[in-house]
């Protein structure tokens, strides 16, 4: 009793006598612009551990610091490049500790080089990106280039190339100067060679092809494909370096920079085919940032889809299966073997969706993708619930990758770099009966079971037609003929050299098939109404292809994500593992005169979303998209004094140079209602005509 009383008295007077101290870490500190730094403070000598954070010099030129100690540097480097962060004890406002923070230049991010083709000799190229600091310079193949800083999003550089380099692809990176000198992780490239040579395919063919193999045609790529032809372009694209997603260390917690990079890559990426195909894989092997909602989780997964876009399908299957991000999304990570004490069973989620959605589907297929039927005319299931429970056991025992320096546990803490790892004693070692009665013997390791199970699925005859049909739907058209599916599935089964699952061969087969090339030479003069190579552009493609056609400049500060969100498609946030839309979605028969037609993208195209598409085009053509998206209408408005010339330019940019007379008449009506010849009038004419063209169903349904 007495002691307590004494303690209480002491406590009452504690502030007057105690030695209160504040320590702050990290100290000293340095941080790159465009990132942030989390400080922590430790207060000793008092039970009141709170501190208030302050910043000197005061004002937004120094950046901001949150009540929790998170310091965000300013957008522009202050002079001098230091600020002082101070933590003050709330219990003792006279007690504080300060840390000097050295501000470093941002990490440069490089999105594109323009032009993509340079002639032999001296050329000036424009480099677009973000985080460029004054004094930044470009490096071509290791050689620094004479570089002019235009803005934080643009540099110009002089490239000197020699005749021996003709045909070479020169990689370019950007390096910011000190303080904090850093090179861009991104690499763009320019190709040395005549920017125009004899055309081997027409503009109509090249443009139609680029709606399938790229995010629509832009002027430079169109010219290039006309020059090299479709097959050569595919070869180049298979070899083109990857336009990466930003390093999670540079993005903060939100995925908006990752989303913005999707559009930067889609509009400017020189690996258009890889970007397009990786996005298709992401719509088949779906994870959603509804759950995988930080760059730390999402970016490594996007990296797998990019890396494996042109690999073997079996490689893609394994890399996706062991991705900690997918493991988290479909519950294969920390999937415990059956536990009698808790009465739990292995989680069935990944077992089910890997087969149902990613590889074979629910029903047995013929080579041409049509359903196999039993004697009674019913579809034949590929597996049953027992098969699912057996596969669920295969996928037990895996956990997050072990962090560097940590020790493997049954349930490793969340970590997303590298493949998941097995914790063998948590793996179900009983025997398992898989597809077509294949039996895994008891006693195998998690890795042995996994490899054999993935082989069992990979070799199922459904995979070829299942994947062929979906790739065709994503790249070419919603209603491929069975013969087209069979041709692509055959290549999946055997690329001609006995290899199964060769995705380069499969993609070539998809894009060069006569059915994909239907429409190259005119809008279906004799084709069926179903137009097998037609499909609705999904919202993110509408955005990207309009911007490419307009020659817009986009960088990572773009706000394009919101445009497609309003049409029901937020990039990287499909609502479920079933993607934004289902491959089997039928267009309501009321709108197809009773013909039964698939139209996966139409699942998003509700009547109200169709209206919203007009309004999205309105925002793009007439609105302000912010500094991250710059549209220069000059190439079109400069022609507006001659309405027919303007119409022809729009036809070249958006309708393969084949705009039908009725569409031309509509555009001319909109143009001719705007009288005058001023620059403002010419711009208004160009905008009106482009609005009518790219909001139309004729444009929005590729065909």
């Amino acid at each position: 009793m007495g002691i307590r009383l004494i303690l209480a008295s002491l406590c009452a007077f504690w502030p007057a006598y105690a030695q209160i101290a504040v320590t702050v870490s990290p100290s000293p500190a340095a941080v790159h612009l465009g990132t942030f730094l989390q400080f922590s403070a430790n207060v000793s000598g008092t039970s009141s551990r709170g501190v208030t954070w302050s910043l000197a010099p005061s004002g937004t030129a120094s950046g901001t610091i949150s009540p929790g100690g998170r310091y965000t540097p300013p957008a522009v480097m202050p002079v001098p490049n230091t600020v002082t962060v101070t933590a003050t004890s709330t219990a003792s406002p006279t007690t504080s500790t300060s840390v000097t923070v050295t501000l470093l230049n941002p990490y440069p991010e490089l999105a594109s080089a323009s032009p993509a083709n340079i002639p032999v000799g001296v050329s000036t190229i424009t480099l677009n990106g973000s985080g460029f600091a004054p004094g930044a310079h470009a490096i071509a193949g290791g050689t620094p280039l004479a570089t002019t800083f235009v803005s934080s999003t643009r540099l110009t550089a002089t490239v000197v190339s020699f005749s021996i380099e003709q045909g070479w692809t020169i990689p370019i990176v950007v390096e910011n100067p000190d303080p904090g000198s850093a090179k861009s992780a991104d690499v763009v490239s320019v190709v040395v060679g005549p920017s125009s040579g004899p055309h081997v395919v027409g503009a109509n063919v090249a443009a139609h092809f680029l709606d399938q193999a790229a995010f629509g045609p832009d002027a430079a790529t169109l010219e290039h494909v006309e020059t090299v032809g479709l097959e050569e372009y595919l070869k180049e694209q298979f070899a083109a370096p990857i336009s990466p997603y930003p390093d999670p260390a540079t993005t903060g917690f939100g995925i908006n920079q990752v989303q913005a990079r999707f559009f930067t890559n889609a509009v400017h990426g020189q690996d258009q085919l890889r970007q397009r195909v990786a996005f298709a894989w992401g719509q088949i092997f779906v994870v959603s940032a509804i759950e995988e909602n930080t760059p730390t989780q999402l970016v490594p997964y996007l990296g797998i889809l990019q890396k494996d876009a042109f690999a073997n399908f079996r490689t893609l299957m394994k890399d996706v299966t062991l991705s900690p991000t997918m493991g988290e999304y479909l519950d294969m990570r920390n999937n415990d073997k059956a536990d009698p004490t808790r009465d739990t069973r292995a989680n069935e989620n990944y077992a089910r969706e890997l087969m149902q959605l990613f590889t074979i589907g629910l029903s047995q297929l013929n080579l041409d993708g049509t359903l196999k039927l039993d004697a009674a005319g019913n579809p034949i299931p590929t597996y049953d619930q027992t098969t699912i429970q057996n596969f669920a056991k295969v996928y037990t025992g895996w956990t997050y990758p072990t962090r560097p320096g940590a020790v493997l546990q049954k349930h490793n803490p969340a970590y997303y770099i590298g493949p998941m790892v097995p914790f063998e004693s948590n793996h179900d070692v009983t025997s398992k009966t898989l597809l077509n009665g294949f039996v895994l013997p008891a006693g195998q390791t998690a890795g042995q079971d996994l490899e054999a199970a993935l082989d069992n699925i990979f070799n199922h005859p459904n995979v070829g037609p299942f994947i062929a049909a979906q790739l065709i739907q994503h790249l070419v058209g919603s209603n491929p003929s069975p013969a087209y599916v069979a041709r692509v599935a055959s290549i999946f089964n055997d690329n001609g050299s006995g290899v199964r699952g060769d995705l380069q061969a499969v993609i070539r087969a998809v894009l060069l098939d006569p059915e994909a090339r239907q429409g190259d030479n005119g809008p279906f003069a004799d084709g069926p109404a179903s137009a097998p190579s037609s499909h609705l552009r999904e919202p993110v493609f509408v955005v990207a292809s309009i911007l490419r056609g307009l020659g817009a400049l986009v960088n990572d500060t773009n706000r394009l994500t919101a445009l497609a969100t309003n049409l029901g498609q937020t990039i990287f946030l499909p609502p479920t593992v079933f993607n934004y839309f289902a491959p089997g979605y039928h267009v309501p028969a009321q709108f197809t005169s009773g013909i039964s037609l698939l139209g996966p993208e139409f699942q998003l195209d509700s009547p109200s979303n169709a209206v919203a598409r007009f309004n999205m085009v309105n925002s793009m053509i007439y609105g302000n998209l912010g500094t991250g998206t710059v549209i220069d209408f000059t190439p079109f408005s400069s022609l507006a004094g001659n309405p027919q010339a303007l119409v022809d330019a729009i036809s070249q940019a958006f309708m393969y140079g084949q705009m039908p007379p009725k569409v031309q008449t509509a555009l001319l009506g909109a143009i001719n209602a705007i009288a005058g010849s001023s620059a403002a009038v010419n711009k208004a004419r160009a905008q009106a005509a482009i609005y009518v063209a790219v909001s139309s169903s004729y444009y929005n349904v590729e065909h």
Binding site: D331, P528, P607
Partner: protein, 460 residues
């Protein structure tokens, strides 16, 4: 597949395109309708479907506590034993009774629904309802002696079957759409009977009718046009391309959908512009805002010329393979709060007795948990659902509660997968009958209904 040549293609009707600003409400959406019924009621009624995507776990939605009257085999301790770490403590449950003197507990997040059940008696619970082609015993299921729903346990297929009420699969129209086919002609205007605030879906798609859609928060109608000559010319150009048939079906489909959207927006804008607001405050959640939009449209039912309306709303996030205790609670709280606000809004509008709201979901979930760092459950079958409205004989539980026992009498396999004892057809037909679909037409709307000869649940 037979593909008609482009010459045989029938043009999508776009007859009202020239009158975007000032069309009458009449005859704008009319179509030949073979399903239409001849007798029409003159009052107003609405059905509101709330689809819980992912498969809501019924086992933790309605928990047996003391149930000697409805299923003496069940008890809280048996439930808790199998559910293990997923068992909800009794202390948090919202207790409800039934007419047999039993005690059940609704999920702790369902406070508002429990209150409507207990105090207002305007909420009923229908237990173990699911997709069925015919009544099915456990033996019939295990020996495959009767028609079994196609692709059980698959999200997409079971969502489809809940929307089509055709458990054998391959349905091209939804049961809501077929109800609309039957009753569309009873409305004074031919604005669509169904309005989806949840985008395109099969539930709302009929053979002859298709739904209007409204997205909460999205601008209704075209932006960027004014009264200038240039603007008018650009609008005329836009409209001329909506009627341009280049022979490609999907281009025509896109035009038809866009034309519908423009017409619907015009009509809705016209009706909504004259309406006063509602004072009921809706939660600022996805479902809250969807149901707020539904209430605003019901509020202008007279201006729209509607006697019968069906609405489709949804909430995702119920596929609780892990983190179930957290995620299901979040989802059900949103459901309960939004439904309560909607009920209050119907009271405010004087339509509480004329609006029935009901839930659907892919399937229930296994009684037995699945392992992992955080517990969840896998895909199952029969589950429990809510019906709300002044016309509902609420405060009671309908249907047969399954015995919560692994490999027990109601289990389709060994993890607690309930073979439904009430079919979706019976559930839907009860709703459709109240809504005013002729008894003679119920068999067309629910083709499997005739397979079920026991009396449907009498919650209305």
């Amino acid at each position: 597949m037979l593909i008609p040549s482009r010459r045989k293609f029938l043009r999508i009707s776009c007859r009202s395109l020239g009158t975007l600003g000032a069309a009458s409400l009449m005859n704008r959406f009319s179509q030949v309708n073979a399903l239409a019924q001849s007798s029409c009621p003159a009052d107003y009624k609405a059905l509101v479907c709330i689809f819980l995507f992912g498969g809501n776990d019924g086992n933790n939605t309605v928990v047996p506590v003391s149930t000697p009257g409805s299923n003496p085999a069940n008890s809280y301790s048996k439930y808790a034993q199998v559910r293990g770490g997923l068992a909800l403590p009794t202390a948090g449950l919202n207790m409800i009774g039934n007419s047999k003197g039993d005690q059940y507990g609704l999920h702790p997040s369902l406070t508002e629904l429990a209150s409507l059940y207990n105090n207002n008696r305007h909420v009923a619970v229908l237990v173990n309802v699911g997709t069925l082609v015919t009544p099915l015993t456990q033996a019939q299921y295990k020996n495959q002696q009767a028609k079994i729903p196609s692709n059980l346990f698959s999200h997409l297929d079971q969502q489809t079957e809940w929307q089509t009420s055709l458990a054998q699969g391959s349905g091209a129209t939804g049961w809501g759409g077929r109800v609309a086919d039957a009753i569309q002609s009873c409305n004074i205007s031919d604005f669509p009977t169904i309005i989806s605030v949840g985008g395109n879906n099969l539930f709302a798609t009929g053979a002859q009718t298709s739904p209007a859609t409204v997205t909460a928060g999205q601008v209704l109608g075209l932006q960027g046009f004014n009264t200038s000559a240039a603007s008018a010319a650009r609008l005329a150009a836009l409209q001329s391309l909506l009627t341009f048939d280049n022979g490609v079906s999907l281009v025509q489909a896109s035009n038809g959908i866009a034309s519908s959207g423009l017409n619907q927006a015009t009509v809705l804008n016209q009706a909504l512009s004259g309406a006063g607001g509602l004072t009921t405050v809706f939660p600022n959640t996805s479902l809250g805002q969807q149901l707020s939009q539904v209430a605003k449209i019901i509020n202008v039912r007279s201006a729209l010329g509607m006697r019968r309306q069906i609405f489709f709303a949804y909430l995702g996030g119920f596929d609780t393979h892990d983190l179930e205790l957290n995620d299901q609670g979040t989802g059900l709280a949103q459901v309960s709060q939004a439904m309560k606000a909607f009920y209050d809004a119907t009271v405010e509008m004087g339509t509480a007795d004329q609006v029935v709201t009901f839930t659907e979901s892919d399937f229930g979930r296994t009684l037995q948990p699945s392992g992992g760092s955080t517990l969840g459950t896998d895909h199952a079958w029969g589950s429990h659902h809510f019906v709300m409205g002044g016309a509902v004989k609420g405060g009671d539980i309908y249907g047969t509660f399954p015995t919560l026992e692994l490999s027990g009498p109601d289990d389709a396999n060994n993890r607690g997968v309930w073979i439904p004892t009430t079919s979706l057809d019976q559930y839907g037909a009860s709703l459709a009958k109240w809504f005013g679909v002729d008894s003679s037409k119920l068999g067309e709307v629910f083709p499997n209904l005739a397979n079920f000869t026991t009396a449907p649940p009498a919650f209305l």
